[in-house]
Symmetry: C3
Subunit: 425 residues, 3 copies
Amino acid sequence: MWADRLVRDLYAEICKIPLIDPHSHIDPRRPAARSLDDILGYHYYTELAHSAGMDKAPLAAEASPRERDRAILNHLDRIDNTAQYGWFLDICRTFLGFRGERVTAADCDALCDAADRIMNQSDWESQVLARTNVEKIFLTNDFDDRLEDFDTSRYVPCLRTDDLVFHLNKPEVRERLSQATAVEATDANLMREALAILFQRFTQRGAKACAISLPPHFAPSPVFPEDLSTALGELFRGEADAGSRAAAAHGVFWMLAELCREFKLPFDLMIGVNRRVYPEGVHQGQDLFDQRTSLLQYAELFNRFIDVVFPISVLTSGQNQELVSYSWIFPNVVTNGHWWYSNIPTFIDRDLRARLQAVPKTKQLGYYSDAYKLEFVLPKFNMYRRILAQILADDFVRPGVYGERQAVDLARLLLRENTQRIFGV
Amino acid sequence: MWADRLVRDLYAEICKIPLIDPHSHIDPRRPAARSLDDILGYHYYTELAHSAGMDKAPLAAEASPRERDRAILNHLDRIDNTAQYGWFLDICRTFLGFRGERVTAADCDALCDAADRIMNQSDWESQVLARTNVEKIFLTNDFDDRLEDFDTSRYVPCLRTDDLVFHLNKPEVRERLSQATAVEATDANLMREALAILFQRFTQRGAKACAISLPPHFAPSPVFPEDLSTALGELFRGEADAGSRAAAAHGVFWMLAELCREFKLPFDLMIGVNRRVYPEGVHQGQDLFDQRTSLLQYAELFNRFIDVVFPISVLTSGQNQELVSYSWIFPNVVTNGHWWYSNIPTFIDRDLRARLQAVPKTKQLGYYSDAYKLEFVLPKFNMYRRILAQILADDFVRPGVYGERQAVDLARLLLRENTQRIFGV
Amino acid sequence: MWADRLVRDLYAEICKIPLIDPHSHIDPRRPAARSLDDILGYHYYTELAHSAGMDKAPLAAEASPRERDRAILNHLDRIDNTAQYGWFLDICRTFLGFRGERVTAADCDALCDAADRIMNQSDWESQVLARTNVEKIFLTNDFDDRLEDFDTSRYVPCLRTDDLVFHLNKPEVRERLSQATAVEATDANLMREALAILFQRFTQRGAKACAISLPPHFAPSPVFPEDLSTALGELFRGEADAGSRAAAAHGVFWMLAELCREFKLPFDLMIGVNRRVYPEGVHQGQDLFDQRTSLLQYAELFNRFIDVVFPISVLTSGQNQELVSYSWIFPNVVTNGHWWYSNIPTFIDRDLRARLQAVPKTKQLGYYSDAYKLEFVLPKFNMYRRILAQILADDFVRPGVYGERQAVDLARLLLRENTQRIFGV
């Protein structure tokens, strides 16, 4: 793939590092795909196919999975330029024995059959994990997940808190919270009590992070307990207006940060996404961002919780430039992966070069898969590792900053050791 | 020019693709230059020379063209580092037989004489078109252009609507609208009637797009008919305040989108320019941008007009990163060229890499010339093609994503076929 | 360091150009370091070490310098990936005879001893200046600096005005102003009189620029004299609220621009920094930026002072893209260096490519050191020159835009001649 021996050698060495994947959406009860539909159902394919002209009928729950796959494959020739298509091709080649140059609708039956055969082997999960060389994978768990029926040393629980901060106005969320904690969180003290129960349960079951995704305009600030109590009271009585919803969101968010301190959990902030910008889009293909956001909005949070580590994910190179500077200055701000719309080679390349040149190397969490199925961990990390190898060659080894071994040591920090140290795994 | 055989070969193949230029300011009654002054009068040269210290006296209408050219050439040694100078040198070499290494004021008379001789040949337009390998060129037509006296299959009309949206407060614009439509558009219904007449006329005469440039803060939203009527009434009575001007702008803009749907015209949005930021600047050299803008401002429009195609032009790499994501998600959003201040190699390089890696290849209009004279189509497309060839080599052919033939097929989509399909030419 | 002969040759030629450094914080009474502590005390090291985990105890005034140095060196292995570490290594090698591959805490005593020996030579300043090949260095002088006891042809005074614009609410600043001018500046006329005294003194003593750093939200606008008088009156009586502080800031800023016109001084604007974002950070390691800022905020200023040159420094690549366009249009806007958080190779690379491709070459001040000690001028300019050599090779010489000699001529403009012409030195 490369004419360049140095890059090739670095890549080969980097691939030997056993991965720890610090963020995914893997379902630990069903981590691997069982069909091609589990692969092509990933929103990257449904949304790109839809964007390129596919209507949504084949995506309906009642549609036949194979016809859905055929419909998506039928649109691949419109998106075969994309990095996302590259991951799919990598999966077909690595896991499904595909030998062709490119995948088209003509390959549908053969691929589906291969997937049915291969992915239903009893040890398929283990095979994928082994071939991927991944040791631990962080999850995204609902706050009411009991975390009881999977191997939490392999699949590391992570308390996802979007619902608690932004969706308490939904009765079902309040109901889930009551069910999960046996607390009716109608004032600040009770909310604190309920959240502490969740933190207790999660950390006892091996959770290593708290996480949330945040809209571009969100600016954390503390809320007086009495104001939070008023807001929560209104929410639980179904009388909340925009003002009390905002007060609850800010108050609960701040409380989560306090609990992260108390329970010594890093608080992953994924900053910048607006939900449902294209509400008629496919499932999980509706959210977009607004570049007009700043980490300055988080200055008070970072200052007040200097003893909480904040791994930060951002969506644009503009935000990344801020992130580089904020993590260079704030001891508790660390860079975290290449998220979603910025998880594209050219953006990774420019964002990663900047981080490697200006942020302490011990404060960088290199990459996470964000995967829903195990099979995606390998192609996504491969994409990242190729870029990393190129940058290490260009910016470190060739200018004499590092020797090859040191460059690989840096990669090991990014892909493994920083994650171990920062999250305590 | 390149040591690299692959890039050279790709460039050569790409240059064989007959161009369709989806946006220009060519005057179809006088498409080619007739003198060096027609070339150097392009605002890129007058504004750069002025910025570099030339006073505006030689630019006055009454000044001698040759002395104006001499004044500009006299400042070329201050701007010979720029891409814009590169286009001029390319024109001198390709069309005027210039053989030197660089153009200076000493070349003024020779170049002017050559231009007078060469550009006044009776078949000059045809010669330029043939050498440029361009098949069709989109225009920018005033709404009251009768489109009656030129070849609309070569020069494709396009309804430019800035005046209708942003300048109805000027009596002459209202007068032109009345003249063009025989309708006094003093309320919402009458405005709709007037605009429909324009759309009817334009599409009958082969128009293939509606277009507008928009300031950074503009956020389209529908206006109630009665509010629009009130606003238009006040405008036509000369009593409009800022509020009714804004209501009229938003109401007319929304109506244009409705008519694009009705007449099946793509609606080119050129987003981000503030007019007259430097009002003492040279003609057309007064406008600048504000990076603080977001495509989120257009979410409602994109959602409400999912059946209208919006080719989007932006001015910054920050906006481009949004555009990549919005066109990856919204079926009706397509990327369009590299506009104005972002039409510089390094910005094209980074913006184009991102588009090619993340946007369906069928949704990208590669490049347009934005030219006022035919002679500029070639050097500008050359600049783009060089960058495109390099990216296809780096990101597609060398990593094994595409073979060379497929890479050229992708270029053909960008330079020709997407334009044909999206605009129906 | 480079396999590439062309880049190496260009770099070698560029290094021969005697530098003029148009912005530093050198103390002309003590320009060179006298110990390793003077080097490692630079905020880039204290803030990165602190960010990477060093507590602030060794930074206290009463701590032992050698133990402070040891503490910082002890953290170098966490930041040896950074550009900033690269400057330090360059200093150790160039000035302290260091021969190792990397500096660790084990080198502390040897380096401290070497520094004590070498940097206390009586002609050390001259040695550093000679080895750095720097002819003149601009300073950052407090407005009440008498400028009386140093060689102002070597160390060019520059009137720094942050205190006058943003800190007049502090009694000590008002007191310093009164002391320096013998004027109690309690109204607009008196302020004008006081400021004119400062401009008179500074220009008589060879000052060549006025300078200020500005927060991201600042938008200059004129203030009516009576409003400024009211605001200054309140300030001097200690009764100013936020409104009058803002009025004073805007009024004094505008007055400074008027005095720059009157005294023919360029006005360096360093745009985008928020002070004390991390107030518990180390000294000078507390400030950060907000990407949401635009040069549009300065349009009125640029228009009203078309005869004042504004060298502009920015902090992000987003701002840089604006700066490229604003300096391409406004005759009085010039690009100035690569400031602070954007002074990192990958940001310099992208920002500089854009400037070189689109801004008249006579309007670019290439680089400044921002140094506090002379020893930093060399490694910082080396970093810049390496990038410049690479860009000149890639974007100018290899594509045939310039020959090698012309490329070096362009470098000479950036590093020397533009500074001479624009500031009149």
